[in-house]
């Protein structure tokens, strides 16, 4: 399972970077979205996957019985998703405004501030 995940993460990173290298700003944002998802999935895969063992303590016990899945990576991913949501919402507003101001979505037309 981890091996499969590793390939998926690799493909996601590759396609994200490919999208970011395109000229259109819409594709740039799509690339950023895929990139953040790839990072989240990487955390999930790197921390190890345990199937069918939720980290719940049965009633009456004070410690979980047997091995359980690590809940922390999921908490991390949840936080990262929330943050990515906020940042990407901003990015969408930004490209919308940029499109309005510049008049097209070609990144090559946005070189005025470069040096």
């Amino acid at each position: 399972m981890e091996t499969l995940m590793a390939y998926v993460v690799g493909i996601l990173f590759a396609s994200a970077i490919y999208m970011m290298l395109r000229r259109s700003i819409v594709k740039l944002v799509i690339g950023l979205i895929i990139l953040s998802n790839a990072a989240n999935l990487l955390i999930f895969a790197a921390a190890g996957m345990t199937r069918g063992a939720p980290p719940l303590i049965p009633e009456g016990a004070t410690a979980p019985l047997g091995p359980i899945a690590d809940p922390l990576p999921q908490a991390l991913i949840l936080t990262a998703i929330v943050i990515a949501f906020g940042v990407l919402a901003f990015a969408v507003v930004l490209i919308h405004r940029a499109y309005e101001v510049v008049g097209n979505d070609d990144l090559d037309q946005m070189k005025d501030t470069d040096t």
Binding site: L35, S36, L72, A80, K111
Partner: protein
């Protein structure tokens, strides 16, 4: 309990919430901002005093013991950075009182500024690597919004590069955290440092170390991924530029200092060597980029990059003296750079341009302002007895001690070229006569500007800070030396957090 360690985070957060609540009254927002900046500086000084006394000030959030809960910890470096944040926050708050256009204030300038300061303080005080990521993002989100406030075309174009590169860096940071957690199973930085020191250093650790280096390197605008900075820093309001110039890239530098003294010290000859060449190239590209520019803020933006190189050099040489130099350099640089950006803002207010060719005659009509530029400019170039001289001197001396001739030569050359850039600004803006066709009514004082003294106040204050650091080299050196001593001895940090000595 020691509340001083969380106050620098709480004060800006509270001020941000209050300014949001007073959305409709810009007057109240200004006063809250001013008051909160004073409070932040006071809290920073309290924290510095406390860390000097105890060494480390630790608080476990929610009373969850480390390494399970989130640790907030201040060592001397953190405390110094918080004090600097307070100084810059106060300077920007005073400057913003008169220099912020109504439009910006109505779209949430002050709440965003406080959110940014909260993110910066949080990054400096976090003892948990994931928490550091969260504060980074808080800071980034606020900076995105501040950067685009106003909505001009150049701002949009600059922001797209800024946002893309910074989000890319965040994704690498997050991936590195995931891989690191997969290896050591903890997020507490002290615990990570402890566990990494126990296991044998493998190639995988180096991979993760390099991912952190790339991620923080982007945020610190180090070579080769620095180009988002000169593309965006000259586009927003000058107070925002000054705030970014002083603090944001330094958060990246701080993170590098923290991570590469506490966590990844097992294979110094590999990691710190890469850092060394990155530092040399950062210095060189920054200063050469600046030499080609003829716009006030763009020159200063490129100089941020070259100065970042010096700070990285201090870390990369990784001797006690070099770290002292790096810490000293950070202190000097934050104050001087903010000051220079604010000077460019005042000049813009007088002459209505940032283009060197359209400026001139400031020395003749405003000699006081010329002095306020000259002190930080010469300090940036490293002339004695100003703060920059000692900072450069310590780093170069450290470079000579370990016989790193090439980077030392680069550092000296870059100092010289910095002087060239500063002289260029001096000659064009201050010395040469006003070009024909420029409106000089504000410059010659025909049009009275009753609020000008408020704008000059932070400039005078920051210049005095520069002089203070320069003239009191010894005590500041000792402070930097204590901070560097803590950085070079991570066992103290680990013990302060975990309560056990490794």
């Amino acid at each position: 309990m020691s509340p001083e360690v969380v106050l620098p985070i709480l004060i800006p957060l509270l001020a941000g919430a209050l300014t949001l609540a007073f959305w409709r009254s810009q007057r109240y927002q200004r006063w809250i901002t001013l008051f909160a900046s004073f409070a932040l500086l006071a809290a920073g000084l309290w924290l510095l005093d406390s860390t000097r006394e105890h060494g480390y000030v630790v608080m476990q959030m929610g009373n969850w013991p480390a390494p399970f809960g989130i640790t907030v910890i201040a060592d001397l470096l953190s405390a110094i950075m918080i004090v600097l944040t307070g100084i810059i926050g106060l300077a920007i708050a005073i400057y913003s009182m008169v220099a912020t256009p109504d439009r910006h204030e109505r779209f949430g300038y002050y709440p965003l500024m406080h959110l940014l300061l909260a993110g910066v303080s949080g990054s400096f005080l976090s003892g948990d690597i994931f928490n550091l990521f969260v504060w980074f993002e808080v800071m980034l989100l606020a900076s995105f919004a501040l950067l685009t406030l106003g909505g001009e075309r150049s701002q949009m174009e600059g922001a797209i590069k800024y946002v893309t590169l910074n989000l890319f860096s965040s994704a690498i940071f997050l991936s590195a955290i995931g891989l690191l957690y997969g290896m050591v199973g903890t997020l507490n930085m002290a615990d990570i440092g402890y566990k990494l020191s126990q296991v044998e250093h493998t190639g995988m650790v180096n991979v993760v170390a390099l991912m952190f280096m790339i991620s923080f390197g982007i945020k610190a605008a180090a070579f080769p991924l620095f180009f988002w900075l000169p593309a965006s820093y000259h586009t927003p309001l000058i107070a925002v530029s000054a705030l970014f110039a002083g603090l944001l890239t330094k958060v990246g530098v701080y993170a590098l200092y923290r991570v590469f003294t506490l966590m990844f010290t097992g294979d110094v000859s590999y990691t710190h060597d890469i850092l060394l060449w990155a530092a040399a190239l950062t210095m060189l590209t920054g200063v050469l980029g600046a030499a080609a520019q003829f716009e006030f803020r763009r020159i200063l933006s490129f100089h941020i990059i070259s100065q970042i190189g010096y700070m990285l050099l201090g870390l990369a040489l990784y001797t006690p003296l070099a770290i002292i130099g790096g810490v000293f350099y950070i202190m000097h640089h934050i104050i001087v750079k903010t000051n220079l950006f604010l000077v460019s803002g005042v000049v813009y207010r007088l002459l209505g341009s940032y283009d060197l060719k359209k400026l001139g005659g400031v020395y003749k009509h405003r000699p006081g302002l010329a002095v306020l530029f000259l002190v930080p400019a010469l300090s940036l170039a490293g002339l004695p007895p100003l703060s920059g001289f000692f900072a450069k001197f310590i780093i170069i001396r450290a470079g000579i001690e370990v016989e790193a001739w090439v980077v030392t030569a680069v550092a000296l050359l870059v100092g010289l070229l910095t002087l060239y850039s500063m002289i260029k600004i001096w000659a064009e803006v201050f010395w040469k006569p006003v070009p024909e066709g420029t409106d000089t009514s504000a410059l010659t004082g025909k049009e009275k500007d009753p609020q000008m003294w408020i704008m000059l106040l932070p400039l005078v204050g920051l210049t005095l800070c520069t002089l203070f650091i320069g003239l009191n080299g010894q005590p500041i050196y000792e402070l930097a030396s204590d901070a560097a001593g803590q950085l070079m001895n991570p066992a103290g940090y680990i013990e302060a957090v975990l309560g056990v000595s490794p």
